[in-house]
């Protein structure tokens, strides 16, 4: 059992973190630059949208880290009367705000990125503005945004820790009771 405990402890110790994730949602090639755009979550859902950009020179594929990128998300069509409520950490960014993409946002420092508030499902446009030296251009990438996940469906594994811990406690109580019952007859045999 100590083996099991050790393995569990080591696994708990190495509980894994998020990496820069997402899928490629578009690529722009202009003015000697190639901009690859990634977005998370997969699939793209209403809520905070994590967009990241990789800028490379054409044709050398040399990654560029000094380009200035700004982006914003724009809803196509009439806005919904019941927009998605963004989580607390993102709710202070007004929808449609043009946000500069920074390397600080991403873990992979060849990327620059930002969180954009996407407040409802449907068709959106991702407006991107790129500037580097003489190159200065804008582009639009269409986005199909799916309905949001409820917070409960995102965070249920953490909430489930409570019943799991209670079950473990009940199991422990059962084991303790079993051990006590197993010890009782022995006491009777040895006697006073």
């Amino acid at each position: 059992m100590r083996r099991l405990l050790t393995i569990l402890l080591l696994l708990a110790a190495s509980a894994l973190g998020h990496a820069d994730g997402g899928i490629t949602i578009g690529q722009i090639e202009r003015d000697g630059l190639r901009v690859t755009v990634f977005a998370a979550p997969v699939p793209v859902r209403a809520g905070p949208l994590d967009v990241t950009f990789l800028v490379q020179e054409i044709p050398s594929n040399q990654p560029v880290t000094d380009a200035r990128i700004a982006c914003s998300a724009r809803k196509l069509g009439p806005p919904s009367p019941n927009p998605v409520r963004l989580p607390a950490w993102c709710s202070t960014i007004a929808p449609g705000t043009r946000i500069p993409a920074t390397a600080a946002h991403s873990r992979n420092k060849l990327l620059s990125g930002a969180y954009l508030p996407v407040t409802e499902a449907g068709r959106w446009d991702l407006d991107i503005q790129v500037a580097r030296g003489p190159a200065n251009f804008s582009s639009v990438i269409p986005l199909e945004v799916a309905a949001p996940q409820t917070p409960l469906s995102t965070w249920w594994p953490l909430i489930a820790l409570v019943p799991a811990a209670i079950l473990l406690y009940v199991w422990r109580a059962f084991l303790v009771a079993q051990e006590r019952t197993a010890q009782k007859p022995r006491r009777d045999v040895t006697g006073p």
Binding site: M1, R3, G17, A19, T65, N108
Partner: protein
């Protein structure tokens, strides 16, 4: 040929709190256990074991947090190196540290004894553990995991979804630990097969590794579409990248299997393989008596905290900061986000206090600037009177604490630098006046709402000012800890150390530490919440079960935590606006005052009474005694909610004072640069997860205390426990709902 810029690549590290804290905790627990075992059986646990285990943890950290992980999604060869570290390097290093006993010994003793021992002693679970690491199970499982996760469908799944990527890594690490277990055979586990059997065991694994590596290297096509579509940041094409990954898997991977196979073969064939240590070396040193961690015995920290002027220095720094806040609040711009009075007291001070309460104890009261002013005032005022007998309870403090919460919500204190400044001034005046007239620390004990807040929150703290050796106190006749002596005053809160239990009413002033002639008082670790289970007779407080005022204080603290967040979330704000539209502002104001009084005062007291009555039906004890004693058990849940709420403010506003300080320096003519209000917002996607973890911990601690208290009353504990347990779960559910709501909080970002 593309050359990657070195700086951004080398700086692509991630410091995710969960893995970093997890690895740190494993290192700390291992070290604590290893240190104890090393002193008893040094030949079994030499320094090499420690180094090996820590190196294993470091390898995991590098695999998960270094640029390897950042670029694993673009280059298969990098991803392969990451997987090799997790399966071939980290597990053997960890197991060479013989981690079982050190980890077990390093965990808190009560947790290991009461929480883990029943599982460790269970014969079916012991058999299951042996089965898991049996070579006939661990070997095929490792091979199966390796093959399955390299199929394109599952590999793509892991590349697309971070959650599945974590599952993949967890599978690799877990199956690798099981696989390497019989090879390393960490003491005191016993081998299931003879040692020579490990040679074919390792060769079989190498065979599978070679086959898979060869397939990747020579197949020609690109297996994983993500890498085919990934931006090419190196000179390698997707096919070359895959071939390189195969080569990495093949050569270093095979070496990782063949070296241990070779070592085992050489040892098995060498004539001295059965050599054992000399008998005199086997004599273990007796285990010393386990000592609790004492903050005052930590090098550097301990002597600094015991220094005569430590508290005055801390207090004077806080006093200077408070003066700056008051000046800016009164004379600075009346916009909370650009004024120190709108930011420091409500975001940073409360945030730091909460973190310190969680990690240590009530250190804010130790650094309290108000008592600093009081001590200065005492040089003028006589402080000769006794505090009125009628007021020697917490009722006044309960009213003031509820009043403080009310003022915070309804006067929008957080949004008014001017009012914030005046409250601080009133606080100073109150402390100087009350303690200028009355003896001892009457202000702290009976009046100060912040102090009461900290006292209740610290009921769940892991450290306590308490005696080190009770035997020393029983021989003491001078009782300097409470009476004081010519050089040092005693406890002004009237807490007699030998009979003190828990943190209620303790300001961590350390007067008792300095007064004790036997150096027998320290800041010791205590199991959080254990004091609430036992409810002993406490010095100057008595039993919680007999103190309705203390119960009321805890209930206001707990329910205000939830009400405070509720008042900030959008659904409640919208409801408030709707009431205002329908009934007009004046009636709406009255409605909200009634709602506040109901939710923070009336409902908690009524619910506690009702739960106490229901529990008394099953136990036969007095309802009031149960209500008082059990209500105090809700304190950890209330603190967890405060912590969850405050963590949001800390993360959203941690950098806001900087431009304000620049603005103040400019206003004072110290420089001319304009402040940049576009401070970075440390957005933290996992914040909701952290908040849920706080609430989980609070609820579980609360339920555990309630259950143990119920068991102490009667053997049929469930009916006694149930009303309180349901109340705690209902509060937890409310907390989860509140966490998921958007917060309407203009302080979060300064003007942009």
């Amino acid at each position: 040929m593309t050359s990657l810029p070195a700086e951004p690549v080398l700086f692509s590290w991630a410091f995710e709190p969960v893995p970093v804290l997890g690895l740190l905790a494993a290192a700390v627990f291992y070290y604590l256990g290893w240190r104890s075992l090393h002193s008893q059986v040094p030949w079994r646990f030499p320094v090499e074991r420690l180094v090996s285990f820590l190196a294993g943890l470091a390898v995991i950290f590098v695999a998960l947090a270094s640029p390897l992980d950042a670029f694993a999604g673009w280059l298969l060869v990098v991803h392969m190196v990451q997987h090799l570290l997790l399966t071939m390097v980290a597990p053997p290093l960890l197991l060479l540290g013989w981690p079982m006993l050190p980890l077990l010994s390093g965990l808190p003793r009560g947790f290991a004894r009461d929480g883990l021992a029943p599982f460790l002693n269970s014969p079916p679970l012991q058999r299951f553990g042996r089965f898991l690491v049996h070579p006939f199970f661990a070997g095929p499982l490792f091979i199966f995991s390796n093959l399955v996760w390299h199929t394109p469908a599952l590999y793509e799944l892991a590349l697309k979804f971070p959650g599945w990527h974590q599952v993949e890594h967890a599978c690799f690490l877990a199956t690798a630990i099981l696989f390497w277990w019989p090879v390393v055979q960490p003491w005191p586990s016993r081998p299931a097969l003879p040692r020579w059997a490990m040679i074919p065991y390792l060769l079989a694994a190498d065979l599978q590794n070679t086959a898979l590596a060869g397939f990747l290297t020579f197949s020609g096509g690109v297996f994983y579409q993500t890498y085919a579509a990934a931006p090419r940041i190196s000179g390698l094409s997707a096919a070359e990248d895959q071939a390189a990954a195969g080569a990495v898997m093949w050569v270093p991977g095979s070496i990782a299997f063949l070296i241990p196979a070779g070592i085992i073969a050489v040892r098995y064939l060498s004539p001295g393989r059965n050599r054992r240590p000399a008998p005199e070396k086997l004599a273990a040193k007796p285990a010393g008596r386990a000592k609790r961690f004492d903050l005052l015995e930590v090098p550097v920290i301990g002597p600094v905290m015991r220094w005569k002027y430590f508290r005055p220095v801390l207090q004077s720094a806080m006093f200077a900061l408070a003066a700056l806040v008051v000046l800016d609040g009164l004379f600075g711009p009346q916009v909370s986000a650009v004024n120190l009075a709108g930011v420091l007291p409500w975001l940073h001070w409360s945030g730091i206090s909460a973190i310190v309460l969680l990690a240590v104890g009530n250190l804010f009261c130790m650094a309290c600037p108000f008592t600093f002013a009081r001590d200065l005032g005492r040089k003028i005022f006589p402080s000769a009177r006794e505090w009125p007998r009628a007021l020697r309870s917490k009722w006044l403090a309960v009213a003031l604490l509820a009043g403080f919460f009310w003022a915070y919500e309804f006067l929008n204190l957080w949004d008014s630098p001017w009012w914030t400044a005046w409250i601080i001034v009133f606080y100073f005046a109150g402390a100087v006046l009350v303690d200028g007239i009355f003896k001892n620390a009457s202000y702290c004990k009976y009046v100060c709402p912040i102090g009461q807040f900290n006292f209740v929150a610290s009921l769940a703290s892991p450290m306590e000012v308490r005696v080190r050796e009770p035997d020393v106190c029983s021989a003491c006749r001078t009782h300097d800890c409470i009476k004081g002596n010519s050089a040092q005053r005693g406890c002004e809160l009237l807490l007699f150390q030998p009979q003190k239990s828990g943190n209620m009413d303790c300001t961590f002033c350390l007067d008792c530490v300095k007064a004790c002639p036997h150096d027998n008082v320290g800041i010791l670790t205590v199991p959080p919440g254990r004091d609430l289970v036992a409810d002993p007779r406490r010095s100057s407080l008595g039993r919680f079960a007999q103190r309705a005022d203390l119960a009321a204080l805890v209930l206001v603290f707990v329910f205000a935590a939830f009400a405070n967040v509720a008042a900030m979330v959008e659904p409640v704000r919208e409801m408030e606006a709707a009431v205002r539209r329908m009934a007009g502002p004046q009636i709406a104001g009255v409605v909200w005052i009634v709602a506040f009084v109901f939710s923070v005062v009336v409902a908690p007291l009524a619910l506690a009474r009702a739960c106490g009555w229901l529990s008394s039906l099953a136990s036969g004890h007095k309802p009031s005694g149960i209500a008082n004693g059990f209500a105090a058990s809700l304190a950890p849940l209330g603190f967890a909610m405060w912590l969850a709420h405050i963590s949001y403010h800390v993360f959203s506003g941690v950098l806001t004072p900087w431009p304000i300080l620049v603005r103040i320096a400019r206003d004072a003519g110290l420089h001319s640069a304009a402040p940049d209000w576009n401070v970075a917002l440390p957005v933290f996607e996992g914040l909701a997860g952290l908040q849920i973890l706080f609430l989980n911990a609070g609820l579980l601690l609360c339920l555990w205390i309630l259950w143990r208290k119920s068991l102490a009353l009667t053997r049929r504990a469930m009916p006694v426990f149930l009303p309180w347990g349901l109340l705690a779960v209902a509060l937890y559910a409310a907390g989860i709902w509140l966490i998921f709501q958007p917060i309407d909080m203009p302080l979060a970002i300064p003007q942009r």
